[in-house]
Symmetry: C2
């Protein structure tokens, strides 16, 4: 079940890149020298690229893991959507993702990659939630209080998700939406980003605009035609 | 041939993410709606992730293209190192990379991906050099004056390359190296980053340190043992 109100952390680019560099430093310090880095798509793309830079690694590839079930649900199901295209038999693999929330993604990745007989699989994330059933080998930060993390490379789509949630209950103006995001989710997105998300929602037919008010299409609480 | 001195642009995270967002906006404005985004590894990982966010696309995968020949050489050879793992037959593909320098990477990607019979292939980069033999379908910025671009996700490894170049001619202190990078390459890296790169070069056995001086190992101009 998703609560109506929970804390959301909008991670800045500065902080996300600094976490990525810390993660690389921890891997370096452990003396693990992977042959290849595998980014979990899509969340692991940016961290994995930075980790490769810091570890001076050129072999970077990706797999995509897809989730089934409601976002933020604790026991969602994960499955491989785009497989590995590289032979990793006998290789030391470093798997990188953004976060361990339920741990389902990394567990699925580990089981899947083990089928290719690598020599070793280690996993690393920027942020590891204590709620996760899987503990990654490396994490730059431990999150013990549950909150929803929005990475800067997912800001637009996540913002649309939150705006949709608010607009599903009542029509609102952009200013009202920003205030509601602040009150319900403790998040302070830039007004520019909110406007961009709202415009996209209008183009996508998710939302209609009437003067200053945005309302969800199909919502019983839309103001209706004039 | 690589000149001894040429302009280098250290792209900030702010600027790189803003170019990525502009690129996405151009793709959106063209009304091209790709079925899948393919990042060219490693340079396209970060831009592709941001483009996916802005275009609300979940299908992101990657291929890796490897270069042969000297870096910064105008006609280097490219080949597929990690292939595509997804069926793209009949699909509209958007290929994302960081830059078109010679254009070799995107040409190789286009030829390779065409073998999988997609419906359409379009290419997009953050920065397109007029020196490139291939013109991408989308680019956020046109670079008409040739310069070497260092993206923030490749800063560490590129910095090591430049420091190696300087140290191959003479031993130098960290301060002297920063000054030389400024004079020869018009670049102003943070001292922290330079120190980190030098430390890595020492660990990797590329460079040795004697008091304040760093010198290339194997260089005839090393100060030698005391």
């Amino acid at each position: 079940m998703i609560a109506d109100s929970f804390p959301v952390d909008l991670v800045s680019w500065d902080y996300a890149t600094s976490l990525s560099r810390s993660l690389a430093a921890m891997i370096r310090a452990s003396r693990f020298e992977p042959d290849i880095v595998i980014a979990i798509g899509r969340g692991g793309y940016v961290p994995a690229r930075i980790v490769c830079d810091r570890l001076l690694m050129t072999d970077l590839t990706s797999i995509k893991i897809e989730h089934w079930g409601t976002a933020a649900h604790k026991f969602d199901q994960a499955r491989i959507r785009f497989p590995l295209s590289v032979n990793v038999e006998g290789k030391d693999i470093l798997v990188i993702d953004d976060i361990t929330d339920t741990g389902e993604t990394l567990m699925t990745a580990r089981e899947y990659l083990a089928l290719s007989s690598p020599s070793e699989i280690r996993t690393g994330v920027l942020q590891h939630k204590t709620s996760s059933a899987h503990q990654p080998d490396y994490y730059a930060e431990l999150l013990s209080d549950w909150k929803w993390i929005v990475y800067p490379w997912a800001l637009h789509e996540d913002l649309i998700g939150f705006l949709e949630k608010v607009l599903s209950t009542r029509p609102a103006s952009a200013g009202d939406l920003v205030e509601t995001l602040r009150l319900r989710f403790m998040m302070n997105p830039d007004m520019d980003e909110v406007i961009l998300a709202l415009n996209d929602m209008v183009s996508l037919g998710m939302v209609a605009r009437q003067r200053d008010l945005f309302y969800a299409l199909g919502s019983t609480q839309s103001p209706g035609p004039e």
